[in-house]
C-alpha cells in the first residue's frame, strides 16, 4: 500500500511567550485522510500548536507546509481558505447570533469564494440556507435554529462550535477538545459523528478522554512541555513508558 500523502506538515515549529518556550521545535506530519490525536498534560502546548498551525499566533521559528506549499507567513483567513477548519477549546461561537446565523456564516464561506455579497438578504441565499439546516439537523440542533447562542447551555454551545467548524467543509479539521463539557450522551454523539466523517477528512484532534482517543484515532502524538515525547498507534502509545509517567502519572 502506498504511503498516504502528507497534507499538513510542521517543521521545527517554535513559539515563545516571553522567556517560556511553549512549543519547542515540534515536527509532525499529518497524512491525508487519517485521524490524528494529540494528547498531553495541561499546559503541554497542544492548543498553542493548533494556534500556530492556523496562524492565530505568529510563528517564532520553523515552517508550516500545506500540501507541500509553505504557508508560514499567511494570515488566519488565508489558511482557512486553503481548507483548514478548526474548533476552539474555549467556546468561540458568536453569542449574539442565532444558531442559524452561526452556521450560515460557515456554510456561506464554503459556498462562496469571493468577498461577501452586498445586496441580497443573507436569508435569501437559499442554497446556503438549505445546507445550514442540513448541518444543524445532522447534529440534532434543529430545535435551536433561531435561538441565540448565548441563551443555551455550555454543552449545546460546544455542539454548535463543532457544527460551525464542520459547515466550512474543510479538508483538514482541527478539533480542540471536541467533547469537553459534554455529557456522556453528547460525547458519544460527537464521537459517532467524528467516526462517520473519518476518512473523508484529515482530522487532527486534541482530546483528553482516553476512551474517545483509543477508540477512534489512527495515530496518536503525545506532547509534554512543548515537545513531542511519543508518536505512534494508540496501542503503542498506551504502553510507552514516557507517556505513562508524563500523562497518566503512573
Amino acid at each position: 500500500m502506498a504511503e498516504p500523502v502528507t497534507v499538513l506538515e510542521a517543521i521545527e515549529l517554535t513559539k515563545r511567550f516571553g522567556k517560556n518556550t511553549v512549543v519547542d521545535g515540534v515536527s509532525l506530519k499529518f497524512p491525508e485522510g487519517r485521524l490524528h490525536a494529540i494528547l498531553g498534560p495541561n499546559g503541554a502546548g497542544k492548543t498553542t500548536l493548533f494556534n500556530l498551525l492556523t496562524k492565530d499566533y505568529p510563528v517564532d521559528g520553523g515552517e508550516i507546509l500545506l500540501r507541500g506549499e509553505r504557508v508560514t507567513r499567511l494570515r488566519p483567513h488565508q489558511i482557512s481558505r486553503r481548507g483548514v477548519g478548526r474548533s476552539y477549546q474555549i467556546t468561540s461561537v458568536l453569542r449574539e447570533l442565532t444558531f442559524f446565523e452561526n452556521v450560515w456564516l460557515a456554510s456561506y464561506r464554503a459556498d462562496h469564494a469571493g468577498a461577501p455579497g452586498l445586496w441580497r438578504d443573507f436569508r435569501a441565499h437559499w442554497a446556503t440556507a438549505e445546507k445550514t439546516r442540513q448541518v444543524l439537523a445532522e447534529l440534532g440542533l434543529e430545535p435551536f435554529t433561531d435561538r441565540k447562542a448565548a441563551d443555551v447551555s455550555y454543552g449545546d454551545q460546544r455542539l454548535l462550535e463543532i457544527a460551525v467548524t464542520l459547515a466550512t467543509r474543510p479538508e483538514i479539521l482541527l478539533l480542540d477538545e471536541p467533547t469537553s463539557g459534554l455529557s456522556q450522551r453528547e460525547s458519544e454523539r460527537v464521537k459517532q459523528l467524528i467516526l462517520s466523517i473519518k476518512g473523508k477528512f484529515t482530522i487532527i484532534m486534541i482530546e483528553h478522554k482516553m476512551n474517545v482517543v483509543m477508540d477512534i484515532s489512527d495515530d496518536v502524538t503525545v506532547m509534554n512541555r512543548g515537545k513531542v515525547i511519543a508518536s505512534g498507534s494508540p496501542a503503542q502509545i498506551s504502553t510507552d513508558a514516557a507517556v505513562r509517567s508524563a500523562y497518566f502519572g503512573l
Binding site: P41, N42, Y154, G155, D156, Q184, E186
Partner: protein
Amino acid sequence: MLTLSSIDAYYGQSQALHGVSFDVAEGEILALLGRNGAGKTTTLRAIMGLNRVARGVVRFDGRVISGLPTHKIARAGVTLVPETRDAFSLLSVEENIRLGYRTGSPYTVERLLEMFPIIREFRLKKGGELSGGQQQLMVMARGLAMGPKLLLLDEPSQGLAPIMVNAVAEVLSALRRDRLTVILVEQNLRMALDVADRVVILEDGVAVDALSRAAALADPARVEKHLAVH
C-alpha cells in the same frame, strides 16, 4: 446548613430552574448531576446570587441569603468555583490567590501552594498565561483561600488530562478529610461517586431524584437513566 426551597430562576425571560429543592448537611459533599443544560450551573449561580431567584428561598446557616448581593453571600461563607475558569488574567497567580484570601481562612497561601504543587511552579506568572487546566486548579485554590463554609465546584475536572483529574480528585479527598461542605457538579460520574455522600439529579431544571452514595452505587441504572440517552 444549606436549604433550597422551591427555587425558580431565570435568564432574562426564559426559566431555567423550576422549583428546585434540596438541602446539604454540614460536612457533606453533595454531587449535583444532570445532562447538559439540566440547570446545574444555574443552581450554583442562583445560590451565589448571580442569577436572580424569582421564587423560593435559599437558607444558609439558618439565614435567608436569596436576594442578597453576591458579595454579601460570599462574605457569609459561600464560594463558587465556576466552570468557565475565571482567572484574573492580568494578576499573577499569587495575586489571584491572595485576592481570595480572607483572614482566618485555614487555607493560607502557603498551605495552598503545598496542596497544589503545580501552582507553586507558576506563582509569578500572569493568570492569563496558564493553560486551561492550570487555570482550573488556580481558581480552585483561590476559592479555598477564602476559607469558605460551603464550596460550590462546577465541573472541576472538565478538560483536564488524567494526571490533572487525579490532582483534582486528591484535592477533593483532602476537602473531605477537612469536613468541608461541598456541592460538586460533575460529568465524570465515577469521580463524583468516589467523593460524594449524596447525589441530587436535575433534569430540565427540575430536581428529579436524590439518593445516597450507597444507593447510587447499588443501583447505577437509577442514576444513569437520567444522564444517558432519553
